[in-house]
């Protein structure tokens, strides 16, 4: 059974293959709604908006404290490429989606479900079966350019579907062809999402960063349609 809702401005899809129980879907969708209510930078009454208006740390919720700590930790791991501070405001969006999918997956497991996927805006956690996951062509959204077969993993893609970016290479004194998208496969979607976000910000060097992380694999597509991928990624190819 598969259900889709639009929450946080994006389609969130859950498929459960263990058994058909419509009620469980709403439980998980409600969780995403609660995350949106807390972390949305759009909503003036969200906790995040209150923090940006000066809500002191002592009054933050446990969830907010957890996310903020994870953001700080991710900034350190990524050498500053993951950064939630922008124009004087805090924005946790680069990490909250993956974090929420990961929590939702744990919620389903706690409820006794073992064969499912949760996908939110192209970021995915798969459990149970071997799932065939397609990587979208950054130059043609109707096309898939790679198919991987995975189980118990998270997959996230960061990128621009319009054209490559403009990255200045200070060593070669040139502007290389930029990165169109980078897909990251990790043990869970939280890891995959935060590292995809940071790796994309790194430009062409992002795939090297992914390569250096243990048990994290990546598939980067540049502006010319050339893909560069880690050796471990090749093992997932269907």
């Amino acid at each position: 059974m598969k259900q889709t809702r639009i929450i946080m401005g994006m389609p969130i899809t859950i498929e459960i293959r263990d058994e058909d129980n419509p009620l469980v879907f709403e439980t998980v969708f409600d969780y995403f709604r609660s995350v949106d209510a807390r972390f949305s930078p759009f909503k003036s009454d969200s906790e995040l908006s209150q923090i940006n208006r000066g809500l002191p740390k002592e009054k933050w919720s446990d969830e907010m404290k957890e996310v903020m700590e994870l953001c700080d930790q991710t900034r350190e791991i990524t050498g500053g490429y993951f950064d939630i501070y922008y124009e004087g405001n805090i924005d946790t969006s680069g990490l909250v989606k993956g974090w929420a999918i990961d929590k939702a997956a744990m919620m389903l497991k706690d409820l006794g479900y073992n064969i499912f996927f949760i996908e939110a805006g192209g970021d995915i956690q798969v459990e149970g079966d071997q799932w065939e996951v397609g990587i979208r062509n950054p130059f043609d959204v109707n096309e898939i350019v790679k198919v991987i077969s995975i189980s118990g993993k998270g997959v996230a893609t960061s990128g621009a579907y319009i054209r490559g970016d403009h990255i200045y290479n200070p060593i070669r004194k040139s502007t290389p062809i930029g990165v169109s998208s980078i897909t990251v496969v990790a043990s869970d979607i939280f890891e995959a999402d935060r590292f995809a976000t940071a790796a994309y910000a790194m430009g062409s060097a992002g795939i090297n960063f992914i390569n250096a992380l243990p048990e994290v694999e990546g598939y980067m597509i540049d502006g010319s349609g050339l893909a560069t991928f880690t050796k471990g990624f090749a093992n997932y190819v269907a």
Partner: protein, 145 residues
């Protein structure tokens, strides 16, 4: 349900233009709007779009706050259908000056991308939160009514 389908159609179109733009300013060409043209005579929030005798007109939506900046779109209506949606502004954030380290390249593999079978359960792709896009589009369409 109609709203959901429409929402999905809009998100799909939105993906064409705006995905990942939190990191950069993409060059946006005149869009092809297969999806929205087919779903619309346009019904956003269940309202039927009725355009007057003018056969072609462009309406500018309000600037809406997205996660990483403001999004503003304009909609051109020709013969009672949306013929194009253009981004007038979109988020442009984060530094792009990057130190490129090519030392790890020998551990990586390369290939030219190729279209694959679309028989998959799920698709991974970049998205961008589209609330602001939908709001700006909605306000442009309201002006068209």
């Amino acid at each position: 349900m109609k709203k959901i389908y429409l929402g999905i159609a809009i998100l799909f179109i939105y993906g064409l233009y705006s995905v990942g733009i939190r990191h950069e300013r993409p060059i946006i060409a005149a869009p092809k709007l297969k999806g929205i043209a087919s779903t619309s005579q346009a019904t956003i929030k269940s309202k039927t779009l009725q355009v007057g005798p003018v056969s072609r007109h462009t309406y500018v939506g309000a600037s809406e706050n997205a996660y990483y900046g403001n999004v503003q779109v304009s909609v051109t209506i020709a013969n009672h259908r949306i013929s194009s949606v253009k981004f007038l502004s979109y988020p442009n954030t984060h530094s792009t000056s990057v130190f490129i380290n090519q030392q790890a390249m020998p551990y990586l593999q390369q290939e030219a991308i190729q279209a694959q079978s679309s028989h998959v359960s799920i698709i991974s792709g970049a998205t961008f939160t589209s609330e602001a896009f939908i709001q700006s589009l909605q306000s442009a369409l309201n002006k068209a009514q």
